[in-house]
Symmetry: C2
Subunit: 196 residues, 2 copies
């Protein structure tokens, strides 16, 4: 899933796997320090302790590095998501818990998630990773909403994109994510109630 390789390498727990991780770590660090635009193949390579030409052995471009970085984070998100099953509370409680969980994801991975949103228009690969993640979330919420008498998947989808954008801006502006979560949850719940 993480792979976005048009670099020449392929498989095995070789030495270069450490380099690969080092490159991703360097990219993430740069992301926080300079932002996507300023980041250059040169600076990533320097951060990883290799030459520019060597980086091209691992990744075909800056965008491929970023794609792999987003893939890594998206995988982490998916791993945490599976925890949030079980426990059949009221529908509204499930919704509130889900939104709070989303807030935590943005707290922990905001840097890369913001980059994922920013780069969605730029690369089909990242667009796929991000919309895939959101759609998986939307599919899960469609189930929940269906149990509350709101069967149309498009409603859950729209609310998911609301949640995404709202947290994105809150994350960019440094707003309080708890407050953001409350607002989103309020709208989710009101939508359920108002659709009876």
């Amino acid at each position: 899933m993480t792979a976005a390789t048009s670099g020449k390498r392929r498989q095995g727990p070789r030495k270069g796997d450490l380099r690969e991780k080092a490159i991703l770590d360097a990219a993430e660090e740069l992301l926080g320090r300079e932002g996507v635009e300023l980041m250059t193949v040169e600076s990533i390579a320097k951060g990883a302790g290799i030459s520019r030409a060597s980086l091209y052995f691992y990744f075909g471009s800056k965008l491929e590095v970023l794609t792999a970085l987003v893939g890594r984070t998206v995988d982490a998100l998916a791993a945490q998501a599976e925890v949030a099953e079980a426990a059949d509370e009221s529908v509204e409680d499930v919704v509130r818990a889900s939104v709070r969980h989303t807030a935590n994801s943005w707290r922990e991975h905001g840097l890369v998630m913001r980059a994922a949103v920013d780069l969605t228009p730029v690369t089909p690969a990242i667009r796929g990773l991000w919309t895939g993640t959101v759609n998986r979330y939307a599919a899960a919420m469609t189930e929940v909403l269906a149990r509350a008498g709101v069967p149309d998947p498009a409603v859950a989808e729209a609310l998911c994109w609301m949640t995404e954008r709202t947290f994105y801006w809150a994350s960019v502006n440094g707003d309080d994510l708890d407050r953001t979560a409350d607002i989103c949850a309020q709208i989710w719940c009101a939508t359920i109630r108002g659709n009876n």
Copy 2:
């Protein structure tokens, strides 16, 4: 409002104003044909019938051209928005009318509006134009929602961003905008009802 000038020119209905419009038109055409990434100062200049160096007389960079283009469209949006006052119908009718109006905006100006969204992370100037537009809309809707017993501006804001993103994706994917409008309006109205 449209101005984003660090090019050397300043004012007056001179001959070069035609060029300026020609440049914006060329950029808009290129936007549809090749997309933001492929578009180059060279190609814009060629489209406008001038040399690359001459374009720099009017605009300081490709991004400034795009900013002016977005500004032009955003102004058009604002102009159309003022029409939608008067006529005191029910709150839900106002909401539905507003969403339908938004759908028409995306139908008519989808190309540049998509670009505005895509470039929002890239330029503070475009970010300002776009968030300004959305926030103006949100402020108006806050009034409407307040009349329905939902005074918190953050709710209208979140719903506006939902509307923005949902139409954005629908526009990108070529989905039916009427259907999208229905879904959005449904959520707006349900939120009002559910918040009683």
